[in-house]
Subunit: 212 residues, 3 copies
């Protein structure tokens, strides 16, 4: 194989995917510490939050072993994030809330775009690829909350999975009208990120039954 | 392809399967409203209640992507049922309890028969096909209750999964003694439905430890 | 097929695997009785505790249908253990705590070794095979606790999954330096068992955040 001179689209997606894994794993570790879990529980929650969304997608589309199991870098990064969160928890000043929300929205956008892309690669119906994009983005958080014996936050509050669905939808719409793959993924990710940030800023909520 | 003059067995199973999906999705949506989830949570619960049983069966027997992901009609029907439940909740008079129980028993019977049939198609051992029939029938409800952070109702109360197991068992017994496929599925489904309805009517319960 | 004169390594692993299934199923049944579930719930918990770890591993590495679904002896043993636990619960004197802990540690060691072995057979990266060994060993208990709407005990207390990880690690290390397969599996299982027993005896705990 010849040496690559510049990173191609696949490399960029991989870097972005690993960055999202790091952010989500750190969030899982923080949730574990709030839940008074021990070090092992913290590592499990870091792993589950970062990787269970992608694992669910891969199992459903038949891409087994899932990437998170086949490629050692994914669990390695998740555990590194968990270790750093554990070690620095009492040393560093807490990360400002706005920073966490921004990083989390970036991870959400990334995972939604990557999940939709992979589902389309496996020739899944576009309507269902939208669902799989959202499952990739929020699945890890659902598993984290189930393991903490809580109703998943994503089901109760806030515009969160909805932002992932919207990003995934925009991405597929772009591809339908002929926009190139990378540009479509970028448009979808950006849509997800912007909707999520505005939703936090404006405190948007989805309607509940009985509200109208 | 030539036009079909009358619906064949496959079409009947499909129609029945989609009807079961509709009923279970509406039940999931009602549970979401009782749990004070938002619209997204309602849709997730409609999807999960209707389709997670079949998805679990398909993943276990290696039929990936599962039908619920491969065939857009399944999620479309689940989301339609969720939308209707959300919109009509405060407008219509509540469905009478007896109607819900009957519809639910019909869905249970249908899913148990369809799940057993599919497991047998994949050359699964008959003893385990019985289990897979019951998993298809009750798996969605288990996921729904786990997402609501509750002990699954099916594990605690009532003759419910037991009716599915009985129906599945009758269906396999019929096939063993040479009854044709469609008649076997019908006998199994009817057994499940009748046992479930009598159990509700007579308030049958399974024994618990310490009861004897 | 010629008759086998003496049990080979595969037979020994199978016997050990089925013994572990029996022990874990009985534990699941006891948890179900403490949780006031009915007979069906008891059977589901016996099945889930004994077999969901292995099912998760098999689904992740693409070995579908999982052994627990393909080989009727696994569910048969799980249900037998559940039935015996149900019937003898009020008749027999309770098993002494020390006996349960020892049996459970044996099951843990067994499942960790068997899980690692199978992951390596499927050419999974060794670092991830360690994770899969631990998932096999503790996955059933996690599903059991989730079904009981509790935070999985393995995440909160005690050296438990850690013992499985250590055993799995020793097993892979032995194979790397050229120790034969059976001896490596034995060394790994023994490591897991000994660490678990010492941890119970000395009341070892993993650190939690804020503890240092």
């Amino acid at each position: 194989m010849r040496q690559r001179v510049k990173p191609d689209a696949g490399t960029l997606v991989l870097v972005a995917d690993l960055a999202g894994t790091f952010v989500f794993a750190a969030e899982g570790a923080l949730a574990a510490m709030r839940g008074n879990l021990d070090l092992l529980g913290l590592m499990v929650l870091a792993f589950a939050t970062a990787l269970c969304g992608g694992i669910t997608r891969d199992v459903l589309i038949g891409a087994v072993p899932p990437n998170a199991i086949r490629d050692w870098r994914y669990p390695a990064i998740a555990f590194t994030a968990g270790t750093l969160a554990f070690l620095t928890h009492s040393l560093l000043p807490p990360v400002p809330e706005r920073g966490i929300v921004t990083l989390d929205a970036a991870g959400l956008a990334l995972f939604a775009a990557a999940g939709t892309e992979k589902a389309l690669d496996y020739r899944i119906n576009p309507f269902i690829a939208v669902l799989l994009g959202a499952i990739t983005a929020v699945g890890g958080g659902v598993v984290r909350d189930v393991l903490l014996a809580q109703i998943p936050a994503v089901l109760r509050v806030d515009i969160y999975a909805t932002a992932a669905l919207a990003g995934s939808l925009v991405m597929i719409g772009c591809r339908r009208i002929g926009v190139p793959r990378t540009a479509s993924a970028f448009a979808g990710g950006l849509t997800c990120f912007v909707i999520r940030m505005i939703a936090v800023w404006q405190n948007w909520q989805l309607p509940k039954a009985g509200a109208f």
